[in-house]
Each structure stands twice: as structure tokens, then as C-alpha cells.
């Protein structure tokens, strides 16, 4: 919980001398420190938000960044987070409120102006907190917890753009927008959400940049600022392009991707292709597995080591890719194949600028 106010740091001598009068004075008329804040044009900003995602995605860092930015603007901030199981891929949720003066830290349903979903399903899960007319920025990244991976049916996930997201949800392909650095450090991709949020929140960009530089790891400041700028300009264009539809997303249940195709990603002129899955964005392409049948001796090693259960032995004891769509391209089977019979490659869309070395 962060308290950002000068009420406790520099009380005026009169207030300390007369504590009973202090409460009356503050309720009747603003304290000197507060009156100076009211001259601050940003001092009237207020808002509530929920940040939700999976452990390790930088949710706490992002809420720190927002808090820092609000504090720089002279606002009161309170935040509270639940992060108990984060290390095991569990949910992390942070309530954040800011304004001239914040009393309670927790939000009730339909109180949040904004929701930042760092993971697709976690973001949608907290939609009940969204005010009517609020905006939920939800990353289309999906993370399947390891325990659910053990016997899950689906393999490589195609995120839920096949169905229309609820009203007020802005699906953001954070990996595609963030820039190249996000492929190495996944948490950088989520700074795109802060960029999009900054358009709505009304704080100056300089304050945001200062807050990002102060809260993210020093090595990643530059990449985070790039992601922030990309997210900000992407969301501005998204708002322009969807202005006629009254805040509703134009993605339709029939799979129409008109809006996405018409909105190029702002980073480096790279186009955002809605048909790409998150794993594609992560690894830079669609993984393909190929097995040389004549070389395979059926030792079962690849079947045993594959974490996604892509492979199996056929009736001739030859390995086959029975679920090729699940392949994530980790290459474990190929490296541990004693017969050198397995080959993995990525089909990289040309617009991602693949190099064949």
C-alpha cells in the first residue's frame, strides 16, 4: 500500500499544536498544502483501476509505475494487491485508486474506470469491476498454468479473438506492438498497456516517462519507453479508427478483422496481424516438426520428453507428430533424438523481418 501525500510529511506547526482543530479545519477548509495542490491542474484527476494478470508479468511493477506517476502529479494514491500464488503461475491482482484524497483502497464491482488485463483470461475475469462505459485494456497474451497443462486438451492456444470480446474491452496484441525487446523480456510487452492507459488517464507524458524510468529495472528503461510510446500511439489510432462504433470493439464474432488489418502497429512500421497467435509473436513464427521416418528407431525418448505431447509412436513404432498444432518449438525432442530424425523450424511471417542467418 502506497500513501502519497504530504499530509504526514510536513504538517504545519498550527496543526500539530492544535490537533482537535486540525480535523475541523481540514473538513471545513483545505489545509495549506492541499490548497497548493488544488492550484495544480492535475490535482482534480481521480480514478480507479484494477490490474490483473499472472505472476511474473510485471503487474506489481506496473502498479508501482502508475502510483509513482500519480505521486509526481501531486495526487493521493492507494493500492492493494493480492500476489500470494504468483510464483506458481497464479493470479496477481492489484487495486489502485488515485485522486485528490483517497480513503479506501479496495474497489467494489462496477467502480473501476479502467482495467489493465495483463493476461487475456485474467483480464476478462475482473470485468465485473468495470464501470459501465469504462475501458478494459486486455493483453491477448495467454498463459496456461503448468498444472493445467498436464492434461489439457488444447495445445498451442489461439487467443480468443474468434469470439467477440465484451463491450469496453480493447484487445491489445502487446507482443506485436511492444517491439523487439519484448521477445527477450516478456514483461516489457505489458508496458504497452501503460501506454494505452496514459491516453485515458490524462497525466502528461513526461510524468509517465519519469515514472517508468524510476520503477522498471535500469537495464530495461529504454525498451520500456519504446513499448510505452508504441502502446500510446497504437491506442490513439485505435480510438480514431473505432470512433464511429461508440467504444465498442469492431471485432466481430464471425472473425472479421477489418479493424486490426487497418491499424498498423506503431513500432518500426511493423504491421500487426490479428491472425498471429501469441506464441508466434513470442517465438517469431509458427513451429513445425518434421520426422525422418527412415531414421527413427522408435526409442520413445521424444514422446517421453515432449512437454506438449505432440509426438506419439505409430503402429510401426515410428514417431509421428500426432498433434502438430501443439508444438511450441522448444526443440527438446530434436536435441534428445539419438537418431537425429527430428527437425524443428519456424515459419516466420515475412513482415516480422526474419533472418535466415
Amino acid at each position: 500500500m502506497t500513501k502519497a501525500t504530504d499530509r504526514f510529511t510536513d504538517p504545519s506547526p498550527d496543526q500539530t499544536a492544535q490537533p482537535p482543530d486540525n480535523s475541523l479545519a481540514s473538513s471545513a477548509e483545505p489545509a495549506p498544502a492541499r490548497s497548493s495542490k488544488e492550484r495544480n491542474p492535475l490535482g482534480e484527476l481521480k480514478g480507479n483501476m484494477v490490474l490483473a494478470g499472472v505472476g511474473g508479468q510485471g503487474i506489481i511493477t506496473a502498479s508501482n509505475t502508475i502510483s509513482f506517476a500519480c505521486m509526481q502529479a501531486g495526487l493521493d494514491v492507494k493500492k492493494s494487491e493480492v500476489h500470494g500464488m504468483s510464483q506458481r503461475g497464479g493470479t496477481v491482482v492489484s487495486h489502485l485508486r488515485f485522486g485528490p484524497e483517497v480513503h479506501s483502497v479496495m474497489l467494489e464491482p462496477e467502480q473501476a474506470e479502467w482495467i489493465l488485463g495483463f493476461e487475456w483470461e485474467e483480464g476478462l475475469r475482473f470485468l465485473e469491476y468495470l464501470k459501465p462505459g469504462g475501458v478494459a485494456f486486455v493483453s491477448t497474451e495467454r498463459r496456461i498454468p503448468p498444472t493445467a497443462q498436464a492434461d489439457r486438451r488444447g495445445g498451442r492456444v489461439d487467443y480468443a479473438l474468434e469470439s467477440a470480446p465484451p463491450d469496453g474491452v480493447v484487445p491489445i496484441d502487446t507482443y506485436a506492438i511492444a517491439g523487439d525487446a519484448a521477445l527477450e523480456r516478456p514483461a516489457i510487452a505489458q508496458t504497452v498497456l501503460l501506454g494505452a492507459l496514459s491516453v485515458e488517464m490524462g497525466l502528461p507524458v513526461e510524468i509517465w516517462k519519469e515514472a517508468i524510468a524510476a520503477t522498471v529495472p535500469p537495464k530495461t528503461v529504454e525498451a520500456n519507453l519504446v513499448a510505452f510510446e508504441n502502446g500510446r500511439s497504437w491506442y490513439k489510432r485505435w480510438k480514431q479508427d473505432t470512433a464511429g462504433s461508440k467504444g465498442q470493439t469492431v471485432l466481430q464474432a464471425n472473425g472479421s478483422k477489418k479493424s486490426y488489418e487497418s491499424i498498423p502497429g506503431s513500432g518500426g512500421g511493423k504491421a500487426v496481424d490479428a491472425s498471429r497467435t501469441t506464441i508466434e509473436a513470442w517465438r517469431g513464427g509458427i513451429p513445425k516438426v518434421e520426422i525422418v521416418r527412415d531414421w527413427c528407431k522408435g526409442c520413445n525418448i521424444c514422446v517421453a520428453v515432449c512437454p506438449e505431447r505432440v509426438l506419439s509412436l505409430d503402429r510401426f513404432d515410428i514417431a509421428v507428430a500426432s498433434n502438430p498444432d501443439r508444438c511450441t518449438g522448444c526443440g527438446l525432442c530434436a536435441r534428445l533424438c539419438p537418431d537425429m530424425a527430428i527437425e524443428i523450424w519456424l515459419d516466420v511471417p515475412t513482415h516480422l523481418g526474419a533472418s535466415t542467418e
Binding site: 474468434e162 514422446v303 536435441r335 537418431d339 537425429m340 523450424w345 519456424l346 515475412t350
Partner: protein, 308 residues
């Protein structure tokens, strides 16, 4: 769903694995190793490292003796020399002195390098000749029918020890270090990337580089000791592993257990020892050899060695 991506014109194919296959003699494949044999994994890892370094292997010579491990050089498209039992290091010494510009890699097995050729191993290490020796240790004589090898651990069953092995085994890495090797490492077929890392360092090292690789013989060692199939055996390498930074001096001992069921030996892996010493080429004054004194990285000083 994604017609645009599968369109060949808009897709670039980027290999994740498989770049090493161009270094194979494709006419010889598939190889003769048994299903699940760990030697094939090491062959793959070795070629992966070499494929990143060389366009072709015309200046790389593989020398091997007799045994399952030594047979893998027959599938490498390089200068290969298949020699007599136990003597690959002797042939390789002559080859290296005659053609010092070659990168010489010796592939040997635990029987070939420690039993028949044990003397050649310690003398090659003593001379500190600039070559890389990879000893594939599958803890048994696989090719000749599963007899007990000098590396078979105490209590293990083989065709010649049906009541369990009553002899202690060699620690090949410690042997090579004591004999004077200036680079000693150990890897597992379970972790081919660790092997690739130390193999790359061994190629860079000037002097006698020795890598012991714990491999799996599924047909004899695995079957007689009931370790299961190739996949089970591979997994069993991870079961009792110590930390990679474990020291040779702090090597945990394998306790013989009560019901005489053998266990996989617990061994430290990774780079175990590295030091710098004049090589045989330098002491003989051979032109064209790499020098151990002047090296570009300068990291092979004696105080860098773990136990120096």
C-alpha cells in the same frame, strides 16, 4: 485460420534445430546405434557445435578406436580415422604432429579409452598435446555383448557379473586430471546443451582437453539392470544429480545399497578443471601449432584452474 501465414511467399523458414545435419554422411544414415543409445545424442550435439563454427569439416579430423562410441565417426562428413582398439590417441598424436593445423578430435569409449587404451590416455594427457578427447562412458562393453567395463559401478549387473559387480570403477575425469590433462569436463547425454558448451570450450582450449560424457547403453546396461527403455534411462540420469559446480574433491560417493540394486553414479558435471601448460607441439618446436602462452582471451592462466 491463418491463410496469410502459411502462404509460402510470405513465410521464411528459420531452422531451430537440424542445422547440424549437413555435416552428416547421409548415405550412411540411419546409424547402427541401438534405439535410445545416448551416443547418438552426443553425435548430434557435437555436430551442432561444429556446424556453428565451420562451413565444412575439411580441417577437422576425427580419430576413433573400436567400440560403439567409436563407430559414430563413420557418420560425420569430416576427415575420419578409424584405428585399432585402444589406440586412437596414439594415431591422433602422430596426426597432430604431422598436420598441426588440423583440429583433431578423438572419440573413444570407456573400454577403448580406459581399459585397452588406458595407457595411451594417460600418456596423451601427460604430453599435453593440443587435441580434444571425448570419452563416451556407457559403463559397459556394449559392442561385444555387455561385459563389465572398468567404469561399471559397484553392484551393477552385466553379463559377466550376474551377481553384481564386485569391483570399484574408474573416475575417468579424475584420472585424466591426475595424468596432466589441462582441460577436464564431464557432461551427460541427458543435457546435450551442457555438453555443447564444454565441447566448444574444449575446442578453444590449447592443450589436452578431456570430456567424459555419461551415456546410456540401453540394450545391455539398461536391460540387465532393469533401468527400463531409452527414455527411462535418459531420465534416470537426472535423478541423482548433484550441482554442476560440485568439485572433484567433494565428489559424493556411491554407497552400495542393501539389496544390491545398482544405482546410477552420482557425478559432478560441467567444467571440472582447467589450467595452462606448454603443449607437446611447443616443447617440440613445431611450426604452425597453436600456442598456449599467447592466446587472445588470456583466460587460461594457471590460477583459473579449479584445483590448481
Amino acid at each position: 485460420m491463418s491463410t496469410a501465414i502459411t502462404d509460402a511467399a510470405t513465410v521464411t523458414r528459420v531452422p531451430v534445430t537440424g542445422k547440424e545435419k549437413r555435416l552428416l554422411r547421409h548415405a550412411m544414415m540411419p546409424h547402427m546405434l541401438c534405439p535410445g543409445c545416448g551416443h547418438g545424442i552426443i553425435l548430434d550435439a557435437m555436430l551442432s557445435v561444429l556446424s556453428e563454427r565451420y562451413d565444412n569439416l575439411d580441417n577437422v579430423a576425427f580419430v576413433a578406436g573400436i567400440g560403439c562410441s567409436s563407430r559414430i565417426i563413420g557418420y560425420i562428413d569430416a576427415c575420419t580415422l578409424h584405428t585399432t582398439h585402444g589406440r586412437p590417441l596414439s594415431f591422433a598424436t602422430g596426426l597432430k604432429l604431422a598436420r598441426p593445423e588440423l583440429t583433431v578430435i578423438v572419440i573413444t569409449g570407456d573400454g577403448d579409452g580406459l581399459s585397452i587404451g588406458g595407457n595411451h590416455l594417460i600418456h596423451a594427457a601427460r604430453r599435453n598435446i593440443d587435441l580434444t578427447c571425448v570419452l563416451l562412458n556407457n559403463e559397459i562393453y556394449g559392442m561385444t555383448g555387455g561385459q563389465a567395463a572398468p567404469t561399471t559401478v559397484l553392484g551393477a549387473y552385466t553379463t559377466t557379473t550376474p551377481q553384481g559387480n564386485t569391483q570399484h570403477s574408474f573416475d575417468a575425469a579424475e584420472l585424466a586430471k591426475a595424468a596432466g590433462a589441462t582441460f577436464v569436463a564431464r557432461a551427460q547425454s541427458y543435457r546435450p546443451q551442457v555438453f555443447g558448451e564444454v565441447f566448444g570450450q574444449a575446442l578453444d582450449h590449447v592443450g589436452f582437453s578431456f570430456i567424459e560424457v555419461m551415456s546410456d547403453c540401453t540394450e545391455y546396461f539398461g536391460r540387465t539392470n532393469r533401468f527400463g527403455g531409452g527414455a527411462d534411462m535418459l531420465m534416470s540420469q537426472a535423478r541423482y544429480e548433484p550441482s554442476i559446480d560440485a568439485d572433484l574433491a567433494r565428489r559424493p560417493t556411491v554407497e552400495p545399497i542393501a539389496d544390491a540394486q545398482p544405482v546410477r553414479p552420482v557425478l559432478p558435471t560441467g567444467l571440472l578443471y582447467r589450467s595452462s601448460r606448454l603443449t607437446l607441439e611447443e616443447t617440440m618446436g613445431i611450426k604452425g601449432a597453436r600456442s598456449s602462452e599467447v592466446n587472445e582471451t588470456g583466460q587460461y592462466s594457471t590460477d583459473q584452474g579449479r584445483d590448481a
